[in-house]
């Protein structure tokens, strides 16, 4: 077990101002964009379903900052955060949620499948567990091709009970693949508390030893702590040391999905976690480390403006042409299954 602490003072800063500002900015961008997406549901501008990561931003942000641009991200339907954290455009994300031409997938995929290959976002997968073996395959490919690329694969606590989780972890460990599996334990699968469906306390960490891996738990609401762990695991993978499995404790502020008000959660629990909101606390830490209020405020203003602009651009984008329906089933660009 490896419970991460922050024994670092402003005089002894292993992270540094520039990185800290990136970590804060990334968290902010995610938070603001997710809240905007939420508002747009209410206006019925976002269709289908949508799964927000508000409350969980520190994890995506920390990995986003710790990863190299060539590295691969695989995430879930709750993947707006991980997608943004790699540098995908806000307009592309919002546009996809709204089913517009400017969407990352041109409107074809929807909120659960955000993908941006140029930024190493190798897809958001909507069927629980499926992306763990696929991410493992990308890691195998990097190993085979002899690149130094690392794959990071995000998933939830509820995902630790499905077969694909087990298959992927086992094969990644046997083949010593350059991959980091990140379990974001937000205490719930959809509406059911994770403790009711898993016989161990830590759904991921208590299983690491089953794959010959170290048990790693980190405070997922502390971007610095996650960043440190991320750096370590990514370095291990890059150096040929094989996979890691990290369990990051966190909490989602909204319900599971658009349709869910989250009323099944005890109010005390919600309150306690709201008090541990990763963003205000990180803001306080910036101040602690001597970063001026004006710098922080300027960044906040910038991020707000960027989200506003992305919103307007996405709103102004036309809906997709129905012509694309017949496109890209096959690599030849079409959909013909017969001559």
């Amino acid at each position: 077990m490896n419970d991460q602490q922050n024994n670092v003072s402003p005089d002894n800063d292993d992270i540094g101002e520039e990185t800290r500002l990136r970590l804060y900015r990334s968290q902010l961008e995610i938070r603001q964009l997710e809240n905007r997406a939420h508002d747009m549901f209410l206006e019925n501008l976002v269709k289908g379903t949508s799964h927000l990561a508000v409350g969980q931003e520190a994890i995506a942000a920390a990995f986003g900052v710790a990863m190299d641009s060539e590295d691969y991200t695989f995430c879930t339907y709750r993947g707006h955060a991980h997608t943004l954290a790699r540098g995908a455009s806000m307009t592309g994300v919002l546009g996809e949620l709204m089913g517009r031409q400017c969407g990352l997938l041109g409107g074809k995929g929807g909120s659960m499948h955000l993908t941006d290959v140029e930024h190493g976002v190798m897809g958001s997968y909507a069927i629980i567990g499926a992306h763990l073996p696929i991410a493992m395959g990308a890691a195998w490919s990097a190993q085979y091709r002899g690149t130094s690329q690392v794959t990071v694969c995000f998933f939830g606590d509820g995902t630790t009970t499905i077969g694909a989780f087990h298959e992927a972890l086992n094969m990644a460990a046997v083949w010593k693949l350059p991959i980091v599996f990140v379990c974001e334990n937000n205490l719930y699968m959809e509406y059911t508390p994770i403790g009711e469906v898993v016989p161990v306390e830590h759904p991921a960490a208590d299983r690491a030893s089953a794959y010959g891996l170290e048990s790693i738990i980190v405070d997922g609401n502390d971007a610095d702590a996650v960043y440190r762990i991320a750096q370590k695991a990514i370095k291990l993978a890059r150096d040929g040391g094989g996979p890691s499995l990290i369990e990051a404790k966190t909490y989602r502020h909204y319900g599971h999905s658009r349709a869910d008000p989250g009323t099944y959660r005890p109010p005390e629990e919600v309150e306690a976690w709201l008090a541990r909101d990763p963003i205000p606390s990180y803001r306080a830490r910036l101040a602690e480390f001597g970063i001026g209020e004006e710098v922080i405020e300027a960044m906040e203003t910038e991020v707000d403006a960027a989200v506003d602009e992305a919103t307007e651009t996405a709103k102004a984008s036309p809906i997709p042409s129905v012509d694309i329906i017949d496109k890209d089933v096959w690599a030849d660009g079409g959909c013909a299954w017969r001559n």
Partner: protein, 325 residues
């Protein structure tokens, strides 16, 4: 008769059977405390308690394995697979185990279970949460396959499925959950394997299923009122057993068959019905058999794309108008 929604009819059908037989139980992800992500099982935990209405881990193979093992040993489980797309993660248990074990063991087991699942598109959920996969199930020997289009059929066919001694895959349609209809009060049990003639016409026979049924009915009205084409509409309701008698009788009368399928084109259930008619009713046909299907592509997510992909009333009208001449 009470007016119920399609989703209320699900709970009503399950409750009716659970009251009757204590070996009937319900398991699935979030089916108990949350009443299901589609709210189709609301109230069941309260009435029957956590022993009979159980939340499970996210582990579809375990869910259906549990159901199968229980069905082999005297219980009558109802298992929910939240979205029918997820049948793919437990397809081995469905297609290789549940479907084949009775036959392989020379009849040593009965496996009376029901797999309920939310099928079909129209909710802008994208390609992994919107599929119509009733044809996957139809292709597997040993499974019965039901897909109701109205609240009354939901209640009656679900009750029949629970009482049936064989495994039944019960496809509920996501886009119908909010629809309302009269449902017989009191104990109500329908019969598996019976199609329903919903409208009688003289020019063409339209055979449809689930969400395609209301669309076919609407199309038939428009064909009649605007194009002078008189259409019979048959709701297949049950793909296995298949009521070829009813379907054939209607095709014989009109000499023309149209199938309206939500599943993508290749190897859909319409192909099977078409091939049966092309073999057994060939000489009664007055013209080509036409299949109206979702094209053979994954389903796109954006509203306008999804709407242009799944067979619509307009598409049905247009196709029949252009070919029924």
């Amino acid at each position: 008769m009470a007016k119920l929604t399609y989703r209320e009819a699900v709970a009503a059908g399950i409750a009716q059977e659970m009251r009757r037989d204590e070996n009937v139980v319900l398991i699935g992800e979030d089916v108990a405390a949350a009443g299901g992500v589609f709210k189709a099982t609301v109230g069941l935990l309260d009435e029957f308690g956590p022993k009979r209405v159980r939340d499970t881990p996210i582990a579809e193979q375990a869910i259906l394995g549990a159901a199968m093992g229980a069905a082999m040993t005297g219980m009558r489980p109802i298992a929910e697979i939240m979205f029918s797309d997820f049948l793919a993660v437990c397809w081995d248990i469905v297609a290789n185990q549940i479907a084949k074990t009775r036959y392989m063991t020379n009849g040593q087991f009965e496996i009376p279970l029901v797999i309920r699942t939310a099928n079909g598109g129209g909710s802008r959920f994208g390609a992994q949460h919107s599929q119509s996969v009733e044809n996957w199930a139809m292709a597997i020997p040993g499974l019965k396959v039901v897909a109701p289009s109205t609240p009354a059929d939901v209640k009656g066919l679900l009750a029949a499925a629970v009482r049936d001694p064989d495994p039944v895959i019960f496809f509920e349609h996501k886009a119908l959950y909010a629809t309302k209809g009269e449902v017989p009060d009191g104990e109500y049990v329908d019969e598996l394997g019976k199609a329903k003639v919903l409208r009688q016409g003289s020019d063409v026979t339209i055979v449809a299923l689930a969400l395609m049924v209301p669309r076919a009915l609407k199309a038939a009205e428009l064909l009649e009122s605007e194009h002078g084409i008189s259409a019979t509409v048959v709701d297949v309701r049950s793909l296995v057993p298949l009521d070829t008698q009813t379907i054939f009788a209607e095709v014989e009368k009109t000499g023309r068959l149209y199938t309206v399928e939500e599943n993508p084109r290749l190897c859909g259930w319409g192909a099977e019905i078409s091939s049966l008619v092309a073999e057994e009713l060939f000489y009664d046909l007055d013209g080509p058999i036409v299949r109206i299907t979702t094209p053979h592509i994954p389903l796109p997510a954006a509203d306008n794309l999804e709407d242009a992909t799944i067979p619509s009333v307009e598409k049905i009208v247009q196709t029949i108008r252009e070919t029924a001449g």
